[in-house]
């Protein structure tokens, strides 16, 4: 049974899509016999509260119900089994003998008339998602939350995503807020190319200026899941680190290749989830790609 956090992000035909927006009949990216394929969602529903497991890896994280299977280098393993692999003799320590997890690592099939058409659609979709992920309620006007980046990064975000020049208010805790001087454009001034998509998604993270890395509080699951899936979708190599290991408080992201093509488990946390989405795929024998990791029904 596939039950994932309602904030998980899958890959639809026009790019990353939150599972909460998925409807019956939509197609999502899966791996079938080693090849990427879009498979129809046969059933999508809210699941009752259940015990769940958050798998934190160096290729992002995934939150699934305990009975959802994950594809590992040692075959299919339920998330609950992976949680049980934690060394119970090491109290208050995050150590265990976990297998590596399979990660999306192939070139994706293109659905549109051309790669350019696909990327244009993905760019437009990415722009509206970044607007929605960064927008917070303001007083009189719309306000967008970004990390406290350099002016160059913030200018790029306001040009590419908001489409209007903004007043900037720097704040504490690594955040700044943008308030457009005029209402944001409903249509982009130009297409968001893959490099801009990555730059603008990372503009929503907090910069770690000394080392070309990015940080996000662990609570911000929706933005994190979208960013990881976008990077996997665009084939941009990245490495994540959940810190501190035992009590992850934030996740750090670096744009560099991981040591292995698989994902190494860093922490496994048991949680009770109220917001799980149950998904059934029309095809059997295929593996769903969720936040870049492979799951099975």
């Amino acid at each position: 049974m596939l039950r994932l956090s309602s904030k998980a992000t899958l890959i639809g035909e026009s790019g990353p899509v939150p599972i909460s927006e998925l409807s019956v009949g939509d197609k999502v990216l899966c791996m079938a016999q080693g090849s990427p394929q879009f498979v129809v969602a046969d059933h999508v529903s809210q699941s009752a509260p259940a015990s769940a497991v958050r798998l934190c890896t160096d290729a992002g994280d995934l939150l699934t119900a305990r009975d959802t299977a994950v594809v590992t280098s040692a075959g299919l393993r339920q998330a609950g089994e992976l949680a049980d692999l934690r060394d119970t003799r090491a109290i208050g320590r995050m150590q265990g003998s976990w297998p590596l997890l399979e990660v999306l690592s192939v070139v994706l099939p293109m659905r549109g008339k051309s790669k350019a058409a696909d990327l244009a659609k993905a760019g437009s979709d990415c722009r509206s998602r970044l607007m929605s992920l960064s927008q917070i309620p303001g007083g009189q006007s719309e306000v967008f939350r970004v990390g406290s980046h350099t002016k160059r990064v913030i200018d790029r975000f306001q040009d590419s995503v908001i489409g209007e020049s903004c007043a900037i208010e720097p704040g504490p805790a690594g955040w700044s807020w943008l308030s457009p001087k005029r209402p944001p454009r409903s249509t982009p001034s130009r297409d968001l190319d893959p490099t801009s998509m990555v730059d603008c998604a990372l503009a929503l993270w907090q910069p770690i200026l000394e080392e070309q890395a990015y940080r996000l509080p662990v609570e911000m699951e929706e933005l994190r899941s979208y960013t990881f899936t976008l990077l996997h979708y665009l084939g941009v190599p990245f490495e994540t680190s959940f810190r501190p290991r035992y009590l992850p408080m934030h996740v750090e992201l670096r744009l560099k290749p991981r040591e292995t093509p698989h994902a190494a488990v860093q922490a496994v946390l048991s949680v009770t989830m109220n917001n799980l989405v149950q998904l059934t795929l029309k095809a059997r024998g295929c593996y769903l790609i969720a936040s870049g990791l492979l799951c099975s029904q």
């Binding site: 109290i91 208050g92 805790a173 807020w177 308030s179 509080p217 035992y246 009590l247």
Partner: protein, 196 residues
């Protein structure tokens, strides 16, 4: 020598005592020994009971060191060699989902995590949601207003109110005009003119 009732950290106990304790486990950053494996399990139960009492009566959100201190006062005759293991046992409760964490900011505007009982999760999360909804409509909230808005279980301690306000700033939903070290007198929505 009388054997200890609870597990002890090897580095904090005498060599002679440690030799008499056959069961060994890693606990947090310590190597610990006890009379038997059951000793570790019994101590974990004791820590859980003490942690829940500390966090629920009244409802409190505590940092890990504060929780360890609170737990220590509730376990009679706790030797220093066992006391240092409380951090590891408390972290274990977090991994089991029995204690939960809330990211927030300190008075110095540094991020930290406050721990609370999983049984209080609906109350804590609903309170934060309500506080945020009021912030969105009012554009600013003082700590006194927040104390009135939060449920009495949560607002009984000023520290809880500060943690709730800090949690909204930590997530970037609100900002503060106070300098580091002052605490959250008032938080407001970004790009809203501060009311002087």
């Amino acid at each position: 020598m009388k054997p200890p009732k609870h597990p002890v950290a090897v580095s904090r106990a005498s060599v002679r005592l440690v030799r008499e304790l056959p069961a060994e486990r890693k606990v947090g950053k310590f190597l610990a020994r006890a009379l038997s494996d059951e000793s570790f399990e019994r101590f974990q139960e004791l820590v859980l009971d003490a942690a829940l009492t500390s966090l629920e009566n009244p409802l409190r959100l505590l940092t890990l060191p504060h929780l360890c201190n609170a737990v220590a006062t509730r376990i009679p005759y706790l030797e220093d060699a066992s006391r240092v293991l409380l951090e590891g046992f408390s972290l274990e409760l977090v991994s089991q989902g029995k204690l939960l964490r809330l990211g927030t900011l300190s008075r110095e505007l540094e991020p930290y995590q406050a721990l609370y009982s999983s049984r209080c999760q609906p109350l804590v999360l609903d309170s934060l949601k309500s506080l945020y909804e009021v912030l969105c409509s009012e554009t600013a909230i003082s700590s006194q207003q927040a104390a009135h808005l939060l449920p009495s279980e949560l607002s009984a301690r000023n520290q809880n109110v500060q943690i709730a306000l800090g949690a909204l700033v930590y997530r970037g939903f609100a900002t503060t005009d106070a300098a580091p070290g002052v605490g959250f007198e008032t938080i407001r929505l970004p790009h809203v003119t501060p009311q002087l």
